[in-house]
């Protein structure tokens, strides 16, 4: 029987479009310090580090975790780096959970960090095209990179395939409302990149097309920042909780899935995000959740794109295929609805510091469960081409 694992501390740096004032090393240390202080621990109390760092090129070094081990005070201890595209943070938490549940360690650090916008395109004199190019190196190097593959166009492929199957769903006025709703949520997140960027559905509809069918205000923003969690096994977690006075939020379910990266017969079904379906249902099974609609209160979802948020919610079992718009039209995720979705503002408004993003989502889910005295949250990460990777974690508050 695996040991029970809980979150006993968490911290984030401010998420910003550009951190001129800090290096990536410093951001990592800031988040670590914040999480350790939250748990009332010092580096000597932590057994191992799990690093969630997505892209070597962003950090401009190919073993980007190596300077961090000493900087965070965990020299001579276990340290492992996880890199799984957009799902890096969730996969890192999943790996840390497995090591603690498997009795290798009692207390571990999960640390995600990314510094994207040091990348700069000198032809357009702006950062974004170079950031997208850098992510573009993540596509298939033989068949896709050279024809302009990007994260956006690969997710757009999935979204358009879903719209081919369900032509009346994902209506522009609904995606616009969801974006506007997230921009309201972010108002209470002082660490968010766009805390003060509230938009109306009309503004979302009027924003420019970036990659059809995605408009500018329906896409996550590139971010620099770090996020950290402290995980501990049951007895240690209870002791820490007694010291800090903060309840333990337990990780009761974990699920992962990586789909095929090619499409067609016997390959990826383009109109589905099976990685989300499988990872969520595996996490539900582990947590003993039979009906997610009844059991889950908060969803911290990796909203790379609003349209994908809607499809992910279908795959999680909250709305039926072809009627994702019920999330808004039936008030499921609107204020007063059954589900609180992305109270941190999501990656669209809080920001997407890739390796840190899902860890930030877990930080937010934990805070919201405690603050609102709710019981269960779902934390999600998605990544790689055509939403190939999916990870879900179920968090529960006693």
């Amino acid at each position: 029987m695996a040991r029970k694992v809980g979150i006993v501390g968490a911290g984030v740096t401010p998420f910003k479009g550009r951190w001129v004032e800090k290096t990536y090393d410093e951001l990592a240390q800031m988040a670590t310090m914040s999480a350790m202080q939250d748990a009332g621990l010092e580096p000597k109390d932590v057994d191992a580090a799990f690093y969630g760092i997505y892209n070597d090129i962003f950090q401009r070094t190919c073993i980007p975790e190596h300077p961090l081990q000493g900087i965070i005070g965990l020299q001579n201890k276990f340290g492992i780096r996880i890199s799984n595209g957009g799902a890096t943070g969730a996969y890192t938490t999943s790996a840390a959970h497995a090591y603690v549940a498997g009795e290798r360690f009692k207390t571990v650090l999960v640390l995600g960090v990314e510094k994207a916008t040091d990348c700069f395109d000198f032809t357009s004199m702006s950062a974004t095209p170079e950031v997208i190019k850098t992510i573009g190196w993540s596509g298939d190097s033989f068949f896709e990179q050279k024809i302009g593959w990007t994260a956006s166009d690969s997710y757009a492929e999935v979204v358009l395939a879903y719209m081919d199957e369900h032509p009346g769903d994902l209506k522009p006025e609904v995606t616009a409302q969801i974006s506007a709703l997230l921009s309201q949520h972010v108002k209470t997140n002082p660490y968010a990149q766009r805390q003060h960027d509230q938009v109306t559905p009309e503004e979302v509809m009027n924003s420019r097309l970036v990659v059809y069918p995605f408009k500018e205000l329906e896409i996550c923003v590139y971010t620099e920042g770090a996020a950290a969690l402290i995980l501990a096994e049951e007895e240690t977690a209870k002791t820490i909780s007694k010291n800090t006075g903060q309840p333990v939020v337990w990780i009761t379910g974990v699920g992962e899935s990586n789909e095929h990266s090619f499409a067609g017969r016997n390959q990826k079904v383009m109109s589905r995000i099976m990685s989300d379906y499988l990872s969520s249902h595996r996490a539900y099974e582990m947590a003993g959740i039979e009906d997610p609609v009844q059991s889950i209160d908060i969803v911290e979802l990796h909203d790379a794109f609003v349209h994908q948020l809607e499809i992910s919610m279908v795959e999680f079992g909250f709305v039926p295929p072809g009627n994702a718009d019920a999330l808004v039209e039936d008030g499921i995720m609107t204020p007063g609805g059954k589900l609180l979705v992305n109270p941190c503002g999501g990656l669209i408004y809080c920001g997407h510091a890739v390796g840190a993003s899902n860890i930030m989502s877990a930080w937010s889910a934990r805070n919201e469960l405690i603050k609102r005295k709710l019981r269960t949250a779902l934390v999600h990460g998605t990544g790689s081409t055509i939403a190939q990777y999916g990870v879900c974690l179920v968090l529960e508050h006693d």
């Binding site: 997208i132 033989f142 896709e144 990007t150 090619f262």
Partner: protein, 329 residues
């Protein structure tokens, strides 16, 4: 044929540095790059790429056990059949789109010259899997709705091929003749590409001229507001463009100069590019953040003479949003 450099020289910045001041403190930034050159092995994929380059043929691989044909031939053994061997097969050069392809308007720094472009997946006749491929139209800018799921397309070959996936792209067969559709190894130079033709504007009447005058005044006001907005100025920092704008009621110039944006009633002798819109309010709406200029180009309300200048258009759209945000704050 002149050989291209693996990194085009225009992408390479000077070795330089700069100082940024935040809250009275100086921070140092250096121009830098990570670069690695390769002699990349194409290994078992070599027959596929050589067939594209030398024979204008598309190869796949068929599993000896289940018969599944994968195109491109991205594996030599079938994992669905416990790694049974596959054999090379040639597939046809016409197929259908597996799903509606996305269209990239805002491209990465390496692909800005190609935008807007589609990239979708085609299932060629004789294949079971879908191959990633660029999608173009011969009729101008690729717009949503032109190519959808199940649209029949034809693989086209570049005139200059180098044994890479960029040697091919596809266009809808509805834009080709029967003979062209049938021809194997059809090259890009064998079809008619509609050249960018500047739209002709109707004669201006008094009402049109009055509307032009009023709109120009509003445009100037917006430009002045943008120049007073730090975020909007930052959007065009380091950028320089002169744009001749033609409307039914008259012409004017928009000039971007490293953080400064000017709109004036003058004729530019050698503009960087030309914009044409019947109604100047189309541009006004864009700059006032009542609808993106990008989208006006896509819907045909506004025409630009060079697609590469979508980069500038994005900056104008960005400035409009920055001004709108500043007004709200």
């Amino acid at each position: 044929m002149t050989k291209k450099k693996v990194i085009p020289p225009e992408y390479i910045p000077d070795a330089d540095c700069r100082t940024i001041i935040r809250d009275g403190i100086e921070y140092h930034e250096a121009n830098d790059a990570m670069f690695t050159f390769y002699r990349r092995s194409m290994g078992e994929l070599s027959p596929f790429f050589l067939a594209l380059r030398d024979e204008k043929r598309v190869l796949g691989c068929r599993c000896n056990r289940c018969g599944l044909v994968r195109v491109p031939p991205f594996m030599t053994r079938c994992p669905d059949c416990n790694f049974a061997p596959t054999e090379p097969v040639e597939v046809e050069q016409v197929g259908v789109m597996n799903s509606t392809p996305p269209i990239t308007y805002f491209a990465t720094s390496m692909f800005q010259h190609m935008a807007p472009f589609g990239r979708g997946r085609v299932v060629l006749r004789g294949a079971d899997t879908a191959m990633s491929i660029n999608v173009y139209t011969t009729t101008g800018i690729l717009v949503p709705g032109l190519v959808r799921k199940d649209t029949e397309v034809k693989v086209m070959f570049r005139d200059n091929r180098i044994g890479e996936i960029i040697d091919i792209f596809c266009v809808p067969t509805s834009e080709l003749t029967g003979e062209q559709i049938e021809k194997k190894g059809l090259q890009e130079s064998e079809i008619d590409w509609e050249a960018a033709v500047e739209p002709q504007l109707p004669e201006a009447d008094e009402k049109g001229v009055t509307a032009y005058r009023e709109t120009l005044k509003e445009l100037r006001d917006i430009a002045a507001q943008m120049n007073q907005t730090e975020r909007a100025r930052k959007d065009i920092a380091g950028w320089k463009r002169s744009i001749r704008v033609k409307t039914t009621g008259g012409q004017f110039a928009m000039e971007i100069d490293d953080g400064q944006f000017k709109i004036g009633e003058k004729e530019l002798e050698v503009p960087d590019f030309v914009m044409v819109c019947e109604d100047p309010r189309t541009l006004l709406d864009g700059l006032a953040y009542r609808g993106a200029i990008t989208d006006s180009i896509i819907t045909g309300k506004l025409w630009i003479s060079k697609n590469i200048e979508f980069t500038t258009v994005f900056k104008l759209d960005r400035m409009a949003r920055s001004l709108a945000r500043a007004k709200k704050a």
